[in-house]
């Protein structure tokens, strides 16, 4: 479904990612691990099109999307749940969800899709009229995922969904991720939380200083001694 080939991306002419290649099959849940500054967020942002690639190619369902704008990528279903959630704080939960489905493809199905999201997250239904900025961190994460589902994601990319959440909420959010995966959604999960990701993802890539250091099935990556080393940034 997603093929990244020899991607080089950076800011102001200085590369952050060097020659990264990865694949994600339809319906797969793939983890992307790495220490801080390994380039995980840069990678997800170039998949979303907000950081333009310097070279390399990104293909989505056989289509070359390398030169597409962020808007066009959202319209074909590449949706990111950003790090730090980035809900619109001064808007209500309802308005945040409506904005999630603002793209041309999803716009017409918003009522149906909203019902689906509110079934998944009953808590959001209770908070529909509340400003998103007043929600707890866990509720904001629900909203950020709900907003991405409103966009009718075909590939859902989650950047650090467990960041700053209490263990109970982390459990809950990963339960949701498992459920979405079971429903057939393709998911790219970016995480710092090593054990949790290895438990939930089928395959994993470990990024180290902008390069793919290790890749493979989660059990294999788990037992590779290099994984922990890459993680500690040694």
């Amino acid at each position: 479904m997603l093929e990244v080939e020899h991607l080089v991306t950076g800011y102001g002419g200085v590369p952050v990612l060097h020659d990264v290649s990865l694949r994600l099959g339809a319906g797969e849940l793939v983890g992307l691990l790495g220490a801080n500054n390994a380039g995980k967020t840069t990678l997800i942002n170039s998949l979303s099109g907000v950081v333009p690639p310097m070279s390399g190619r990104i293909r989505f369902e056989g289509q070359d999307v390398t030169a597409m704008t962020p808007k066009q990528r959202v319209e074909i279903g590449i949706i990111q749940v950003p790090e730090g959630r980035l809900v619109f704080p001064e808007m209500s939960v309802r308005e945040n969800l409506l904005l999630g489905g603002i793209n041309a493809r999803a716009r017409a199905h918003r009522p149906r899709q909203m019902e689906h999201v509110l079934e998944l997250f009953p808590r959001l239904r209770e908070r529909l009229g509340q400003k998103a900025g007043t929600l707890s961190g866990g509720e904001q994460q629900m909203l950020a995922i709900g907003r991405a589902l409103m966009a009718e994601a075909r590939l859902l990319m989650l950047d650090e969904p467990s960041l700053g959440l209490s263990p109970l909420f982390v459990q809950y959010i990963f339960g949701i991720i498992d459920r979405l995966h079971a429903e057939g959604l393709s998911i790219l999960l970016i995480e710092q939380n090593l054990n949790l990701t290895l438990r939930h993802a089928q395959r994993c890539y470990v990024l180290e200083r902008g390069k793919v250091a290790i890749e493979g099935a989660s059990d294999v990556v788990k037992d590779d001694p290099r994984t922990r080393r890459a993680y500690l940034g040694l």
């Binding site: 959202v74 809900v87 409506l98 904005l99 999630g100």
Partner: protein, 288 residues
């Protein structure tokens, strides 16, 4: 007492239009961080376009809106897309310089075409008065008041309950997140700027009847707009309309109770005082 009520009426009526001028600037600042120092010169442009249409076709300023609003909206869009967009997000000072330059270009362009003398544009309602007890109000002021508030309410509803309005607020609150929703941020910024300039075309026609105009007046409107926006806390809708009323009222009371020249200073004095004690603007929260 009669004087007091007279100034109250005049201040509220004119202040509402100042509020409308400032809403345009506040919206633009909110979505793109641009403070447009040529704001007042676009008002001038709107007024002189009305004058030109009167001279050529004997159109009343209110009728001229059919031409000036679309024209200035498109002009605003072009200015943002080709001049401001390449600069936005890089250097705030460069953007300020650019809009100052634009102000000089507009001002001198108007001077070249219309000359430097003060002129009036007649309107059918220009000298019509309503007398309510001891208070005399000019009909153009009443029209300005009604239209300004109607526009403000219309804008508010647009921002609250349309997809375009929600995208404007989304870009204001977090442009990166808005882009991830598939909102074309540059497009929203361009349309907002165009909308802001289109609003000025309307405000220009509202302020025009009975007011002598000259090419150099733009700066005064820019400064009034800036202080109204700052009073309102930059992006707060209600705060900006309130700021407009305060400036309108202080101008009216200043001219009646102080001398003509001293009176024109009063709004600026009040502005400095308010900023000393409430630098965040008049309203309580920074609601956007």
């Amino acid at each position: 007492m009669a004087e007091f009520l007279q100034a109250l009426a005049q201040g509220v009526l004119i202040g509402s239009t100042y509020g409308l001028l400032a809403l345009g600037m506040g919206l633009v600042y909110g979505v793109s961080g641009v403070v447009n120092f040529s704001h007042g010169d676009f008002i001038s442009l709107g007024m002189f376009l009305c004058l030109a249409l009167y001279s050529a076709l004997a159109l009343d300023p209110y009728v001229s809106l059919i031409v000036t609003v679309p024209l200035m909206t498109v002009l605003g869009g072009l200015v943002y897309w080709y001049l401001l967009r390449p600069m936005v997000g890089h250097q705030f000072l460069m953007v300020v310089q650019l809009t100052l330059g634009l102000s000089l270009v507009l001002q001198n362009g108007i001077l070249m075409v219309f000359g430097g003398q003060s002129v009036r544009t007649p309107s059918v309602v220009e000298s019509k008065l309503w007398i309510l007890g001891e208070v005399v109000v000019r009909v153009p002021h009443v029209i300005a008041f009604v239209v300004s508030f109607a526009m403000a309410i219309g804008l508010y509803i647009m921002l609250r309950s349309t997809d375009f309005g929600r995208s404007i607020r989304a870009v204001h609150q977090n442009a990166h997140a808005a882009a991830l929703m598939g909102i074309d941020v540059s497009r929203v910024q361009t349309l907002t700027f165009a909308l802001g300039i289109g609003i000025l075309a309307i405000a220009a026609a509202l302020l025009l009847p009975g007011t002598p105009i000259q090419p150099s007046q733009g700066l005064r409107y820019t400064v009034i707009t800036l202080i109204v926006v700052a009073l309102g806390g930059m992006t707060n809708f209600v705060g900006i309309m309130l700021g407009g009323l305060i400036i309108g009222l202080s101008e009216a009371y200043g001219t009646i109770y102080l001398s003509d020249t001293l009176g024109m200073l009063l709004p600026y004095g009040i502005f400095v005082l308010i900023m000393l004690f409430r630098p965040q603007g008049l309203t309580w929260s920074s609601s956007r």
